[in-house]
């Protein structure tokens, strides 16, 4: 029977595996609706382990938005670890949802949120475990429609053969539109079968159906053209943008896991979008414009969320939280409200300025001042101009020193290496900076008990950014720069022992680069890697660089391209990029100009404060920047 629970068959397997709690569901605020009550059934997947996927805000929002509709039902499913996957195959138990333990194959839609491209092999594994053909063309009317979303869906071409649709942009409204289309098609007796349903979906704003677009390649290996194969689908697909975030206060009742997860706190998104213009940052480019939640809207989400969850920590999330127009008042008023309640507030800090220290001090009024994080991203002033994240070395040292002087014991600094135009010297400046920070910090705090942790990873150029044309640094280059940096930090042990270095080697970044800027031909590499046992590529113990490079070499050779062609090769201005028919609103000419300005180390201003429509997003998408200040205040909570 459709929608029947698989739990009795699953339970005996759970006694034989690691961390069974992640598969049983039953979490606070999770829900299981009767199958027959809903006209449209959604399985929502985060393609990584439960502990990583559960806190994902996107999935949690859609789960609630869909379940609020009386005619829809949504349940969650996550990547299954290999120990359980082996038992499921042995005993014929298919991929299941953790809420109702229903077979994923029974659902009308399988929505998969890709925060990172390294989840692609887990999609194939889940489809296979579900008994759903991995290739979209092999599916029939009985199979779920596989919908990709999340930031990686802005270039879904590498998974074009495996997904039926990709959704661009904010999901809150489009999931409702998709539900309406599926509901109507089912109610009409499924006219025209699966193909008709996909054609109807392709006409929903923000929905891209890859099979209705044919890609051809030129003799040089580059894309020659992308053509629609039906007249009734759009030539380019534009992203969705939700305006007025106060109208969408989700998640209202966040799911509280029993199992430990990567974020043991409640999150409230204080604004969406960012116009700082950091050139490496795909999130900042594809989520424009800035849309703030109001201070009162945030206040009520914090209050209701804490009541619904019992969490003792609240994170105020966004791409650059200190940029909220009322962040100072927000921090102060929330700190006032929750003083004495053992509730802590945190702000993931990114920007390097003294104001961030003031905010952090406010939020940690009566708490421990353990660690503070800043993200200068680039090691030298020169490279910071290239990436448009300008901060002078003096300001950086002064800010970090202020943090130590205010009682913060540990400061984390985030950097990238392998940025366009970067040399060894740019990266070596990180060591100089860290040394100076520790010297000044010891003096300012009068203590030797301070630490600075340098966290650094390889840069991966992303679609829809000014760096989409850039040459990605090779794994050897990344590893070489990390090595010289480590040596420079360790050169003076008296200072070096206060500096920690955390880094990721260059290899996974190269594969992420292949998947980020890849086209449809890369799908064969993904499939080959999965068939040879590849999954959980975001986990170093499961990731195999050799398996990826061998698969890439063999599967790409017939097309006359290779791994380097996709990664270290710099693109030319007029090359057709695989995602050119997918519209984030950014004007390609503006992106190119910004790329040229990056190469000449010129900065670009934030349009929040200097009216500027140059990037093209607002006019193209019919959107506007929505920021305060509102001047409103949070009232004290009534004591119960």
């Amino acid at each position: 029977m459709t929608g029947e629970t698989l739990y009795p068959r699953l339970e005996p397997l759970l006694a034989q595996i690691q961390k069974p709690i992640q598969y049983v569901g039953g979490e606070l605020n999770s829900q299981v609706k009767p199958w027959e009550d809903a006209a449209v059934h959604w399985a929502l997947m985060y393609p990584d382990a439960y502990e990583v996927g559960l806190p994902n805000q996107g999935l949690m929002i859609l789960y609630e938005v869909l379940n609020e509709r009386p005619d829809a039902l949504a349940e969650r499913t996550y990547a299954v670890w290999p120990d359980l996957a082996a038992l499921m195959r042995e005993h014929g138990v298919p991929q299941f949802t953790v809420d109702g333990h229903r077979s994923v194959a029974d659902f009308d839609l399988l929505g998969v949120s890709f925060a990172t491209e390294l989840g692609y092999t887990n999609l194939l594994e889940a489809l296979d475990l579900a008994g759903v053909p991995i290739h979209a063309v092999d599916r029939d009317g009985s199979h779920p429609v596989v919908v990709a979303g999340g930031h990686a869906a802005f270039n879904p071409e590498p998974v074009a053969d495996f997904v039926d649709c990709a959704v661009l942009g904010d999901g809150e409204q489009v999931v409702g539109d998709i539900t309406d289309v599926v509901k109507a098609w089912k109610a009409q007796g499924r006219p025209g079968g699966r193909m008709e349903l996909l054609a109807r979906l392709a006409r929903v704003e923000g929905v891209y159906v890859p099979r209705f677009y044919a890609v051809s390649y030129g003799p040089d290996g580059a894309i020659a053209g992308v053509q629609r194969t039906r007249d009734d689908v759009p030539a380019t697909v534009g992203k969705r943008t939700v305006m007025d975030l106060d109208e969408w206060p989700y998640p209202k009742t966040p799911i509280v896991p029993l199992a430990e997860s990567v974020h043991e706190r409640m999150s409230v998104e204080i604004f969406r979008g960012c116009t700082r213009g950091c050139r490496f940052c795909q999130a900042g480019m594809i989520t424009r414009p800035v849309r703030e939640r109001t201070i009162t809207g945030i206040g009520s989400m914090v209050e209701q969320g804490l009541k619904a969850t019992g969490y003792e920590e609240v994170g105020l999330l966004s791409l650059s939280s200190a940029d909220h127009s009322e962040i100072g008042q927000l921090a102060k008023q929330l700190a006032d409200r929750y003083e004495g309640t053992n509730t802590s507030l945190s702000l993931p800090s990114t920007r390097v300025d003294a104001f961030n220290v003031t905010l952090a001090n406010e939020l940690s009024r009566n708490g421990r001042r353990s660690g503070l994080t800043f993200a200068p991203e680039g090691g030298s002033e020169r490279i910071r101009r290239v990436i448009n994240k300008t901060v002078s070395k003096e300001d950086l040292v002064r800010t970090v020193t202020t943090a130590y002087a205010n009682g913060w014991r540990q400061v984390k600094l985030y950097f990238m290496c392998g940025l366009p135009t970067e040399t060894d010297e740019d990266v070596l400046e990180i060591a100089e900076l860290a040394v100076e920070v520790i010297r000044a910090g010891r003096e300012a705090s009068g203590s030797k008990d301070i630490r600075c942790t340098v966290s650094i990873g390889g840069f991966v150029p992303k679609p829809h950014t000014p760096f989409q044309w850039a040459s990605q640094a090779s794994a050897e280059t990344i590893d070489h720069r990390l090595r010289v940096l480590r040596e420079a930090i360790n050169a003076d042990r008296r200072i070096g022992r206060s500096i920690g270095l955390r880094y990721h080697d260059g290899k996974p970044g190269v594969i992420e680069g292949l998947l980020s800027r890849g086209d449809r031909r890369v799908g064969r590499v993904i499939e080959r890697v999965w068939r040879e046992g590849g999954k959980f590529d975001g986990w170093s113990e499961h990731f195999s660089y050799d398996r990826w490079t061998a698969a890439a070499a063999e599967e790409l050779a017939p097309f006359g391209v290779d791994l380097d062609w996709y990664t270290t090769r710099e693109r030319t201005e007029h090359e057709i990029l695989p995602w050119d028919h997918l519209d984030s609103g950014l004007d390609k000419e503006w992106l190119w100009e910004d790329w040229q300005e990056a190469l000449s180390e010129e900065e670009v201003a934030d349009c929040r404060w200097t009216p500027c429509y140059d990037c093209g997003v607002c006019p193209t998408m019919g959107t506007e920047i929505q920021i305060g200040p509102t001047g409103r205040s949070l009232l004290p909570l009534t004591v119960v």
């Binding site: 759970l14 606070l28 421990r368």
Partner: protein, 253 residues
């Protein structure tokens, strides 16, 4: 000079409550840490006025007693909480129960009786009921008899430091075989000694002495905990607290 928390120290504990709770159904797969996190969040949702430790990272005053293993259900887990404001124990029980997932239930809540000693001292034994799907009474009974006839049954136990040989026999005060709906049930009373003997260890022992290999994973439920007396009875560990309450309640009338 390191920073110190500002303001007055947290209010002291004015009342200690002792709770018995159950983990059932799917949530038998919750570990002790999973349940601890869940209970702490439920206490906050239920707005139980917890007492906290002092310092920069105050912790609510909660003492957990030995937890049933991950995968085992229980009707008799115990925890003691310290409150900063006196509360009606039944109101706390009901409020907390309502704030927990359905498959964790707060069964009893009593105020710690003054001068009755610690809860931990009243628990040294577990009463287990282990369902063995696919095993018949006729298979289980001789295995149990064989096990009980031995003085020592050594089994390998998985520990943090690899496999270790332990004696599964000495801790078992009594054991018997039963049957319900065609499914064999192993009942046993097991002393909480070191190293701990868990239902899995006894099942490994039955495999070793009588070649009993259940075809499906067994389901263990801890039915009770308490002090084992000479007659083989396990006493209710909350009994002394209840007894201590009676005179005062009478006095109030």
């Amino acid at each position: 000079m390191a920073r110190q928390p500002e303001g007055p120290p947290p209010p002291p504990t004015v009342q200690k409550l002792r709770l018995r709770y159950a983990k059932r159904g799917r949530l038998r797969f919750a570990s002790h840490r999973d349940l601890a996190r869940t209970l702490e969040r439920a206490l906050r949702r239920a707005q139980v006025p917890m007492a906290f430790s002092a310092g920069f990272s105050p912790h609510p005053k909660i003492s957990y007693l030995g937890a049933a293993p991950t995968g085992a259900a229980s009707e008799a887990e115990y925890v003691e909480i310290g409150l900063s404001v006196r509360c009606d124990p039944e109101a706390v029980r009901a409020g907390l129960d309502a704030s927990l997932p359905d498959e964790v239930a707060i069964l009893e809540c009593v105020e710690a009786g003054e001068g009755t000693g610690s809860l931990a001292d009243r628990i040294d034994t577990s009463v287990w009921r282990v369902e063995l799907p696919g095993v018949t009474l006729a298979e289980l009974r001789p295995a149990v008899e064989e096990f009980l006839s031995r003085d020592v049954v050594t089994v390998a136990k998985r520990t943090k430091n690899g496999l270790k040989d332990i004696d599964a026999r000495a801790s078992v005060a009594s054991a018997s075989a039963g049957e319900e709906a065609g499914c064999a049930i192993l009942h046993m009373v097991v002393r909480q000694l070191t190293p701990a003997v868990r239902p899995d260890d006894v099942l490994a022992a039955l495999a070793a002495v009588a070649d009993l290999h259940p075809p499906l994973p067994p389901r263990a439920v801890r039915e009770a905990q308490g002090r084992l007396d000479d007659t083989g009875t396990v006493a209710d560990p909350l009994g002394p607290d209840r007894a201590a309450r009676i005179p005062r309640e009478h006095a109030a009338i």
